[in-house]
Structures are given as C-alpha cells and as structure tokens.
Symmetry: C2
Subunit: 200 residues, 2 copies
C-alpha cells in the first residue's frame, strides 16, 4: 500500500486555530469580504498558506469557521438585567462580545458583505447572529411587559418590534453606509422600539 504524500505530513496543529480565526475576524472588521485574503491571514499569523488551505480549502470555509467559533451572542444565554428595558437594550449594544461594540459592529459590516456572495455564509449569519439577537430583544421586551414597564395591551406588538433592530442594521449595511454606529442603534431603541411601546 502506498502512503500518499498528504498523509506523511505532520498532524495539523489545532492550537493555533483560535488565533487564525480571530485574525480572520480582524480582517473582516477592516475591509469587505472580497478584499479579505488567505495570504493576509497567513502573513498576520505567521502560518504557511498551504497550512491554512489544508484546513480551510476556501476563504468561505475559513470565514464560516470564524463565525461558528465566535458562537452566538452571550446575551442569548444570559439576558442583561439592569433594572430598565432601555438599559437592558443598550447593554446588548455595549456588550464586550467580540471585543466590544466598535470591533463587533465592524465585523458585522464585513460579514454583511460576505453574505452577499455566499448563501452558506448568509445562512450561518442568520442562524448564529440575526435570529439570536431577535430572540434576545423579544425576551427583553416580554420581560418588560411582565414587569409592567410596557403596557400589557401592547404585547402583540413585541414580535414585530423585536425584529426592528436587526432588520434596520441589515438594511443600513446593505445600503453601503458602513458599520452601524452607536447613535443609529440608540435611535432605533428610543425613536422606534421604545416609542412604539410608549416607554418614556
């Protein structure tokens, strides 16, 4: 039996995966998906390109792995609880997840450009990012109804309002306006979601 050249190589060193996937997210925070290259990931991590290609045959595979490694927003596991629905919604914005709001919103902008060229990436961003955020907002608003901060008669509006922040963020990114900024997010919270729910 012949041993193929590939199988004689050293086993892949998984310990540097975290670093490679973090650098991939860094690049997505800096530029559109089209301008992210495995060359640049190799240069920044000091890895050989062949090593990267062996593990992630395409850029799409690498970015998919980076998104999956990032996981879901931690607020989906543990809702913020700061005593008011407004503070809770802003806590989602100010979450330290993925390095805090600046890096995270820049990564989402890069990912948005990626989803335009890849149905697989669009699907994983939808299931790992967009849908969990909708669920976080839905639960925060329903909890505020339970606590009497939002009038019970408005409970039927909660599902549609829980989608407004993710939908408007996607719309903003698709229009090529660059990363979502803090003031845009705060305006969505105050002028749309809380205004519609009559929270002062």
């Amino acid at each position: 039996m012949e041993i193929s050249p590939r199988r004689t190589g050293r086993p892949y060193d998984h310990s540097s995966d975290d670093r490679i996937l973090a650098v991939t997210l860094d690049l997505l925070a800096e530029r559109d998906y089209e301008r992210v290259t495995l060359d640049e990931v190799a240069a920044r991590t000091g890895k050989a390109k062949t090593t990267l290609y062996r593990r992630w045959p395409t850029k799409e595979d690498l970015v998919l792995a980076a998104v999956r490694a990032a996981g879901r927003p931690p607020e989906a596991e543990r809702l913020p609880d700061l005593g008011s629905v407004r503070a809770d919604l802003l806590a989602v914005l100010d979450s330290p997840w993925l390095g805090g709001p600046d890096r995270r919103l820049a990564i989402f902008a890069g990912l948005s450009s990626a989803t335009r060229g890849s149905e697989r990436l669009a699907e994983v961003v939808r299931s790992e990012v967009t849908e969990p955020y909708v669920e976080v907002y839905r639960r925060l608003l329903l909890r505020a109804v339970d606590r009497g901060e939002i009038a019970a008669r408005l409970v039927a509006s909660v599902p549609v309002l829980a989608e407004v922040i993710p939908a408007m963020s996607t719309h903003h990114l698709a229009a090529g306006r660059g990363p979502v900024r803090r003031d845009f997010f705060v305006s969505l919270v105050d002028d749309v979601v809380l205004a519609a729910l009559q929270v002062r």
Copy 2:
C-alpha cells in the same frame, strides 16, 4: 466588404419586449430567481430562445431589463392623498402598480432571491425600488407633521421610521418567509411607524 451572418438577420422586433419583460416578472412572482429560466420565458411568449439570448445574453440581463422597465413606484411621482397618514400609507400597499399588491409583493419576493446572487440586481433593486419607497414614506410622514397629524417634536424620528417598512420587508424575505403579506405590512404601519409617532 463581408456582411456578417448576424447582420443579415432580421432586425430585432422590439414590439414584443413589453410582453417578454412582463412574463419575466410573472415568473419571478411564481418562483425563486434560481428557478426562472429563459426556456420558460421563451415557451410562455412563443419566442425562440435564440431571439431572447440575442437581446438579453444572460438571465441577469433579462431580469435587470424587467426591473428597469417596471420603473419606480408611481407613488414616488405622486404621493397618495387620502386625508390621513394611515390611509396614505395603506394606499401605497394597495397601489395597482405591477398588478396590485398580490402580484407586486410576489415579484418583490422573487427579486429578493435574485439580489442574493447578483450585486448588479441588488443595486438596481435598491435604487429603483427600496430607496424610492423610503423616500415616499419619508415624504408622507413629513407631510403629516406639516398638517399637525404627527407632533412636530417627533419630526427627528421621521427619517429612521421611513426606513422601517422597506427594511422589515427585506428582512422578512431574507429569512425565507415568502412574500410579505398584507397583515404584516399593516402591522408595520400600525404597531411600529404610527405607534412610534403617536398617531391613533
């Protein structure tokens, strides 16, 4: 001088363009972009495929032409004026444009699937459909502020709220929930836009 074979053909008959582009929109109303074929357009119009390919070399070209031929929403030229901002917003929904709400919302669903595979289509849908609708909503809401139907102190919320209906429609379509339905649109008008602007 040789005459090339192409130039000896009969001149292209432009009179059937309207029919071909309307059938293209019909197909987009029935199915995802991926499942729209020039074969089917040829079959439904009685045209030879070679005739279609001569004028629109790719499916993307044909769909781009169909979107451009449809033009912008007529409400962008002439705002509805029915005496209340709610009636005006619902008049945009119930517009006869592109065959009325059922066909039009189905076409938009087909176009949404098309924009995922083509940056050119995404750009033309953005400039010919999404942005004109944002502008229509913005103007309707500002007129309601002028008329005193919306409190003047809420005027700063108008730009962001003008984007909610198009953004939520795109979000709905991207999530694969099928064409936007009338009740979803009405909920956006009542539970989000007018609720945030405190219009009863």
